[in-house]
């Protein structure tokens, strides 16, 4: 993943830890536990993403932060102040809603001025501050338009302006890209990111799109069934996923389940011919213990196998190409092994260009990887 220098702040540049604290928060709807004893600490000026599939509790957690939902248990602290019992309209927290929730009966200016009017600001101040954020999101020329007259991207910028104009301590973003076409999403991600970087506001974003989370966030938390599965920088979570869920949710991967054999550091899997050599990762594991390891598709090397070739003794196997997906900058191969399982292999364009003959359907290929390419999962 390429990092955007505009968005990514080095960890030193971030403010103190614990700016936003979620302390053992639970939320139950009837007998359904949607958020389960969740703890989270977010730094000042950090851009944090809650990532998970629908129903994992990420949106409920966001609504609890906004004050639109009361936690069944636990506390929320913002900038040292306990805001658990502060109603939504008194919190220094603003939210950019999914599909933006712009007031359809007010024009752009009135939408943005709404929050300031509720604070009882003077007219001149409201005019000035609305003009300021309109400049920030470059929507000055649309100040008199009604929301229905704006494109999706323009609506998003108005929604952003509306949620920033009160200068909240915490900005919440609920699926900010979900209402946009795929083609303009990436461009918008960078635009939105650079505006938020300029403002320097602490952000918590909810998304189900791992790419979005990885492009925009300093840190992210992968959520499942109301709990945080893994938390860390996009690089950390991608390179060293702690669980199968995290590994499979962030990018795609090949997971092997096996048992540590009596030969040093080798895992024997039922559906993989050769043993997997864990190298240094075996530390702490006992002989006979069940283990799971993950290998990212791009860490697997693939080549056409000569008729008489024998696979190396570890971390390698022979298979046939079952499916090919050309993705432009890389090509995805689905390789069926002798054991019957299928591996996903990602071959970068440069490697494809280097092949004398590109592997085709039903070709026999050799796949292999180094011990360092594997990650042990919990």
């Amino acid at each position: 993943m390429s990092a955007n220098p505009l968005i990514k702040k080095s960890n030193n540049a971030l403010g103190e830890d614990g700016f936003l604290q979620v302390q053992s928060v639970s939320k139950k709807f009837g007998s359904d536990t949607v958020v389960s004893d969740l703890n989270l600490s977010i730094r000042r000026q950090e851009f944090f993403a809650l990532l998970g599939s629908s129903g994992c509790g990420k949106s409920t957690l966001l609504r609890i932060m906004a004050g639109l939902e009361r936690p069944t248990q636990g506390r929320i602290l913002l900038d040292g102040q306990d805001i658990t019992d502060v109603p939504a309209h008194e919190r220094p927290v603003n939210m950019m809603f999914q599909s933006y929730a712009l007031f359809p009966h007010m024009n752009v200016t009135a939408n943005i001025a709404y929050g300031l009017k509720r604070e009882g600001r003077a007219k001149s101040e409201i005019t000035e501050r609305v003009a300021e954020v309109l400049d920030l999101v470059q929507m000055h020329s649309h100040a008199r338009h009604m929301p229905a007259q704006l494109s999706g991207g323009q609506q998003q910028r108005v929604a952003l302006a509306r949620s920033l104009v009160k200068q909240p301590k915490l900005l919440l973003l609920d699926e900010p890209m979900s209402a946009l076409d795929k083609q303009i999403r990436q461009k918008t991600q960078f635009e939105l990111g650079s505006i938020l970087y300029k403002v320097g506001v602490t952000c918590v974003m909810v998304t189900h799109d791992q790419e979005e989370a990885m492009t925009m966030a300093d840190r992210l938390a992968v959520m499942s069934e109301g709990r945080i599965v893994q938390i860390g920088s996009p690089e950390q979570v991608y390179e060293t996923p702690s669980t199968q869920f995290a590994a499979e949710f962030i990018g795609s991967t090949n997971v092997f389940a096996g048992v540590l054999s009596d030969r040093r550091g080798q895992v024997v899997c039922a559906d993989f011919e050769a043993p997997l050599d864990l190298g240094e990762m075996e530390q702490g594991a006992k002989i006979g213990q069940a283990l799971r390891v993950s290998v990212r598709p791009e860490r697997i090397r693939m080549q056409l196998a000569a008729p008489d070739i024998k696979a190396p003794p570890v971390n390698a196997a022979l298979g046939t190409v079952a499916q090919i997906g050309y993705m432009g900058s890389y090509t995805l191969f689905y390789v069926t092994l002798v054991s019957g399982r299928t591996l996903v292999v990602n071959v970068p364009r440069e490697v494809m260009m280097g092949f004398e003959r590109a592997p085709d359907y039903d070709d026999t290929v050799l796949v292999q990887w180094s011990s360092r390419s594997m990650v042990r999962l919990a």
Partner: protein
């Protein structure tokens, strides 16, 4: 797709049908009868069958005009019509207002209830339509009369010493009117409140609006089309209402429906009744057209 329709343009497309069918229906069953009424309103009353003269006749091969504006002049010249019109509009206005005040909170509660409760409540609103409207108004007599249910209960509870006069006065009139027309207010309001994006009031709250501010700046303005629809559905039939004032109201609350009825059946003066009808429709069309204009300008439109 559109080629398929333009190529064989002699077959009406779905769009033309969607507009055309109700258009033809209204033409046949509203516009033509109304034109007949207008025609009768220009005729002279007579002891014939039907009890009016044609608009023209031929005498010695020459057409003779028999039409007259007398009926309209009579109405403008007679105070009873003016006061009945004013009274009708007043009763309709206050009925609409009371229906709105009761109906809005009710619709809001229904729209925000859990799905099962919402369906039960909606059914409760629609259920009275299964019984004849006339029967329901009559049954109010049983409740409101001096020895009726309401008075018996109040006497039994010891809250009153003598029966209260609950009908054949303005109170009875409004009880009957509000009872009968309340569903027409609640149902469109419910529809609008249910389809409102729940994130809009939340966004208002998030931006610092207190609960009452959320209501007056977001919920209420966005439900204006529902309020307009409900109010028109109540106001228009209320103006011409005949049965309820007759059964539950007093003779002092003379409404235009009653006047038309007596012109029609007591005096057997069809042309006069028809003129009163024509004027009533004009009276109703004006505020409706004004509302429509207001909405089309985008002031209230969604």
């Amino acid at each position: 797709m559109s080629n398929a329709f333009t190529a064989r343009s002699w077959i009406p497309g779905p769009r033309a049908l969607a507009i055309g069918v109700p258009f033809v229906f209204l033409l046949l069953f509203f516009m033509l009868p109304f034109l007949l009424v207008l025609k009768i309103s220009l005729a002279q009353s007579a002891m014939t069958v039907p009890p009016y003269l044609p608009l023209w006749a031929f005498e010695n091969g020459k057409p003779v005009w028999l039409w007259t504006l007398d009926n309209y002049l009579t109405i403008f010249g007679d105070d009873i019509y003016l006061s009945a019109y004013i009274n009708s509009v007043r009763v309709a206005f206050f009925t609409t207002l009371i229906c709105l005040l009761i109906g809005y909170p009710t619709a809001w509660l229904i729209a925000h209830a859990k799905p099962l409760a919402r369906n039960l409540l909606l059914m409760g609103i629609v259920l009275p339509f299964w019984t004849s409207y006339l029967v329901r108004v009559y049954s109010w007599i049983g409740i409101l009369k001096d020895q009726g249910l309401a008075n018996s209960l109040l006497l039994y509870l010891g809250w009153i010493d003598a029966p209260l006069r609950l009908m054949q006065n303005t109170l009875g009139l409004y009880i009957g009117m509000v009872y009968s027309y309340l569903p027409y207010m609640i149902l469109p309001l419910c529809a609008f409140l249910m389809k409102m994006d729940p994130r809009l009031p939340e966004a208002a709250r998030d931006l610092g609006a207190k609960p009452w501010e959320v209501f007056f700046t977001v919920t209420l303005p966005l439900s204006l089309p529902g309020i307009t629809a409900g109010s028109l559905l109540v106001f228009i039939p209320c103006v011409g209402e005949y049965v309820i004032p007759e059964l539950l109201g007093s003779a002092d609350d003379l409404m235009i429906g009653r006047v038309m009825w007596s012109d029609f059946f007591n005096s057997i003066d069809w042309p006069l009744a028809a003129a009163a009808t024509g004027l009533m429709v004009a009276l109703l069309l004006l505020p409706m057209a004004w509302f429509q204009r207001l909405q089309n300008r985008g002031g209230i439109a969604l």
